[in-house]
Amino acid sequence: MKKVFVILTLLLISVMTISFAQQITLTFAYFTDGPDLPVIKSLISQYEQLHSDVKINLLNIPYSDYAQKLSTMIQGGTPPDIARAGDIIPYQDVALNIAPYIPSYTGESVENWVQNHSGFTSMEYWYKERGEILGIPWDVGAHALFYNKDEFAKAGITAPSTIPWTWNQWEDAMNKIVSSEAAKYALTYEKTSYRWSNLLYQAGGQIWNDKDQCVINNAEGVHALSFFVSLFKNNLIPESVWVGNTPAFSYFQNGLAAMFYSGTWMIPELMQKGSVNFNWGVMPLPVDKVNAVMTGPKVILGFKSTKYPQQVADFMLWLTSKPILTEWCQKLGAIPANHALLEKGVDYGNPELNSVMEIILKDLNEGTKPSGNWPANFERDWIVGNTAIITQTYYPRLVQDIVNAISGTMTPQQALNDVSKYFNEQMASLKSSSK
């Protein structure tokens, strides 16, 4: 009996040793975008059940520290195997090209897969430029304008659901909210240059022209910034968000601001019970000369340095495959970065969320239609080429100068002249160093 027990124990230990030895661990650097942590954890455990030889070690890093932590890991020679990222550009030289693994996993040629999976410029650009797939668009974030239905009712305002307000109508509504004392502020607007740029594109402006010259200080740019600054001057937006460091959402959440200019990534947060104690809705983004809605996918990418490129590519392709992406979007109210799913539409299984998403998707559809130089200007400014590199690297200067204009230390023209001068200097430096 004793012998049998010893043999069985040894057998068990050897089986466990062999199975552990065969299991590989992939590190996945991740930032939460709303309350999505439980969802990604459940997807990972689903994947681990399907692939018992793979263990995914989820490294959840707060978004505020994400770029710094990830860049330190890369610089230190210990990048993760996989990462969630806002863009491919910063990681273009260290990202894993998963193109060779696509045909075996999907049964499609790379060309077909690119065409079918996503029309998002970033992935197509890198495939066209280098013949590489450096990251897969996962879900799409689009700018969105949320509003407090209770405060709108108090101010006697009806928010549009199909035809967007013009900037003038929007400003009138803001004045009405504040004068009726429905809320202390009419609008809270997130402090990022990306968010502000939506006004720039609606005004018909652009950061760069097609000759790689920064022209943000042209008449359209100045008009966009002047309009934005006037909202602060008229006390319609709290200065604390832009001039100080207070999160924009706290004003909306506490009922101090009736509207919140943010993006679709806030929907899961707003849908969470107890997050806000009022009825909220979403409206199409107000328009000026152009109906422009900025959008961009979050991507999942692998790193060249991984010991397991095949497994990394498999996980990336599984996570962005149609059924998994559908599950992700349904649970989080996210928009899939996939052509077919976008066209088909996702049933979110919740009437409230379905109605919110209907407005957003319609606005997104209308706001991404070409008009003049839109959306080519947006792609040039933020997504492709040297122009996007400069914008994405030196955007803090734009934020700083917008703040200077809000606080009155510069006029909108002076602020944008300063941005233009600085961006052009950086472009000259980039071009001279790459010669």
């Binding site: 910063p90 273009q92 030289d93 200065e239 604390s240 207070t246 803090p396």
Partner: protein, 290 residues
Amino acid sequence: MKTKKFIPYIFIAPAFSIFLIFIIYPGILGFIVSMYKTSYSFGPSTFVGFNNYFSVFKSPNFLEALGRTFLFSALEIPTIYFISLGLALLMTSPSVKAKSVLRVFFFLPSVLSGVITALIWDWMLNYDFGFINNLFTILGLKNIPFLLNPTYAFISLALIMSWAASGFFMVIFIAGIQSIPVELYEAAEIDGATTFKKFSSITLPMLRPTSILVVILSTIQSMQLFDIPFVLTGGGPGESTTFAVEKVYNTAFINLNMGLASSMSFVLFLIFLAIGLLQFKISREGQFWA
């Protein structure tokens, strides 16, 4: 006999190893990185010699941040000095009751992490959500933009830093005051010296070594200032509270220019080293460290 020679080295080995691994080795690596122009996308770096150092001195933003750091130190160091000395005098005065409780109360801020300190003061000073401004609203007074006006933000930060650091320096001063021989005060009292005379002729001169230590430590602390302004004001409004170390951080982790950031770090290191050596030299000349 031979074995004995090695014993001191064995004792200092653990501390020296830590110093070597965590200070010297990263320092050397940082210096090497400062000689390279690093790629934005983590690609291959190009050797540029001392070019990054020339860029540091040509960068108006960095020089402004450095100037702001000196200005901040000039405001903060005397504030810390006088507050902590005042508290120490109070805490050693026979007429003050419940000294132990008060000492803990004044020392408490110095054990808080910078992030917690920043959050506490944000809750106090925020324009729309802050306790003080809400109190003003209730009293029918106008809100004060403590963190929205560049001058107010700068001064608020200096006061917050003083609040956070004074407790620690108070303890150092208390130790200094308690080490002054009582006989000196007794002799002065016999000679009819007033309280102020005793302070100016005995306490202050006898506290000179402690004062120098406090000035050196508070200088180092204020020059390295990062966490509290980073969390509380984000370096703003504009760049009014962006200090040298935050500039290095922004260059490294926002502009992703590690080479330039490393050279900025070295320039800062040399400046801080020069200030430290100067302070030590002054203190040695006064023979207070002998």
